[in-house]
Amino acid sequence: MNQAPAISLEGVRFAYKRSAPVVLDLDEFRVEAGERVFLKGASGSGKSTLLGLIAGVMTPDEGRIDVLGSPVSTLSGGKRDAFRAERLGVIFQMFNLLPYMPAGANVMLPTRFSARRRKACAEAGGAEKEARRLMARLQLDPDRYWSSPPTALSVGQQQRVAAARALIGKPGLVLADEPTSALDADARDAFLSLLIEECTASGAALLFVSHDGSLADRFDRALDLSQMNGAAT
């Protein structure tokens, strides 16, 4: 496994425009390889900004960000996009799936964009086999749901497809942005258990962001972004 920390931020400051107020001011933030971290963040705490910076969609105005040993804050835009395709899995709050692709194809999408993930799947017996395995692990019967259009799935099922997609091809880090906020209590607990289990099984670090602090005790470590962020209002 990669021994470099999954995430390492130092002295990061970010504003959307040069004249706009700073929305994120983090002295230090670390997630170790394979670690599962809960990050509590109310809306407006800068969590989306933080995730955007870690994923390399945006770059900080100041400071340094290393993800899985790569200096994403200094990479070029194209390299950051490529890095994201190769090494990260992302799960959103809802509407994770491309509406025009069936569940199975959605799970396999990352392998179409990344040679590294294709290779990781090939070692496990091929992309489709791996996708079916992950779906089964997340308690979505692949024989039944493989060809289902996203609209035919419940929100909980959609989130599990998204989790399978994030995990395919052994990414080093999974970023989850409030993936349970659209789920009811039972579905939320089931989803959380499956997600943590699968991250552990594949050795991926997990950064789970939510405003719901009651989930925190399921993780290795819990942090509150509002307290860490010097720019929080």
Partner: protein
């Protein structure tokens, strides 16, 4: 990072919005059909116009303007300013280098169709659409004094058949008060359709023209019997115009100059091709206007694509965010939008072209049979292919507008899903 499967994504994305996509494609297809249809008719009209007369080296008439002479002698539009004396005609007909001549005498009509006084050399020497000769659908050329041969449109519109008798009227209006009804003509021949003014002509002999005007031009004709008439000298005093064929076409310019400077009476000779293109430069304005209108229709089709894509943009912000999260670059989002726009236009253009040629293929035999319009291009050619390319390219360029908007959205949204 491997090649981003943009095209297959674009196709799936369009298929997902198939309702709007089909309507958009349909709009482009109809615009394309209209444009190609106008183009085909334009070319067909121009070709049949230019094909009206060929194989004739010079047309000779009284001095006026070349276009005027062409209009009245060949297209039967308007009237001659003056006539040519028979002596002058004979002199030029017998000039060295002249292979054949066809005299034409105009001024009478039948039910609005022009009566052309001529002789059987007309059927022998008149050529249209390259080298095509006049053909008899039924019957035979002129023989007896009051024989007549009619064009295809005359026969079809008036429902005439062989053996029927018709009366010609003085003047060229549809309604005439002076009919030469003492001397009915018998239809002995009906010509095949040509798509030229020949279809709308009634042919009689020069002698017959002379005979029905023996007792003055405004009379009902002559009361003399055919035998009495045949005993007379019916060679005309004057004719309206005549066609000239030369032994070698290179002599045309020299003979033209000689005729134009003829001292005995004011004449002019025109080279049909030159006069036709002069005439077309006048008629062509309408044709170009039509083409411009059709081009604007195609532009409207493309703007429909633009509208459809721009409208869908907001609801697709999350699609863009997902793609970004999966590692798509902003450039890929840009390409996705542009290829969608191009794909819609391409599909529409191909369908439109197929539609046009399908209709042409189905309609060509009918057009040929009924109207003598001969369509030469019944398969898509280089022009159509490059038009498809042009429409696709233009749409791709218009696609830059939504692509730029999506590109900026995806930069601003990052991975945040805006719903």
């Amino acid at each position: 990072m491997t090649r981003f499967p943009i095209l297959s994504l674009a196709i799936r994305s369009i298929a997902n919005r198939r309702g709007t996509a089909l309507l958009t494609i349909l709009t482009v297809a109809i615009a394309m059909t209209l444009f190609l249809g106008v183009e085909k008719v334009r070319h067909g009209a121009r070709a049949s116009f230019e094909n009206t007369i060929s194989g004739t080296d010079l047309i000779v008439g009284a001095r006026s303007s070349p276009v005027n002479l062409l209009l009245y002698s060949i297209f039967h539009i308007g009237d001659a300013t003056n006539n040519i004396t028979w002596e002058t005609y004979q002199q030029i007909a017998n000039a060295p280098g002249v292979a054949w001549t066809v005299p034409i005498s105009l001024g009478d009509s039948h039910a609005g169709f022009r009566v052309v006084g001529t002789d059987n050399r007309y059927f022998e020497h008149y050529r249209y659409a390259g080298r095509r000769q006049l053909e008899f659908a039924e019957g035979r050329p002129l023989d007896a004094l009051f024989d007549t041969v009619i064009g295809a449109s005359v026969a079809r519109e008036l429902g005439y058949s062989l053996g029927q008798e018709i009366v010609v009227a003085h003047g060229t209006g549809r309604v005439s008060f002076v009919e030469h009804d003492n001397n009915p003509f018998e239809i002995v021949g009906i010509l095949s359709p040509t798509g030229t003014p020949v279809d709308r002509s009634v042919f009689v002999s020069l002698e017959a023209i002379e005979a029905i005007h023996l007792e003055g031009p405004t009379g009902a004709g002559t009361t003399l019997s055919v035998e009495e008439l045949l005993a007379m000298d019916l060679s005309p005093d004057q004719i309206t115009a005549f066609l000239v064929g030369l032994e070698t076409p290179v002599a045309a310019l020299r003979l033209q100059r000689q005729i134009n400077t003829y001292r005995v009476e004011p004449l002019q000779a025109i080279i049909p091709g030159v006069a036709l293109s002069q005439l077309w430069s006048v008629v062509g304005v309408a044709e170009r206007t039509l083409a411009a209108v059709a081009a604007f229709v195609v532009l409207m089709g493309l703007i429909c694509i633009l509208t459809a894509i721009l409208t869908s943009l907001n609801e697709r912000r999350r699609e863009m965010a997902i793609l970004r999260a999966l590692g798509a670059r902003p450039g890929h989002i840009f390409t996705l939008m542009v290829s969608e726009s191009a794909l819609l236009a391409f599909t529409g253009a191909v369908i439109g072209t197929g539609l046009t040629y399908g209709v042409l293929a189905a309609g060509a035999p009918v057009l040929e049979q009924q109207y003598g319009v001969h369509l030469t291009e019944t398969l898509p050619g280089l022009f159509d292919l490059s038009l498809i390319g042009l429409v696709t390219g233009a749409s791709a360029i218009l696609g830059f507008i939504p692509a730029w908007a999506a590109f900026r959205n995806s930069l601003a949204d990052g991975m945040t899903i805006r719903t």
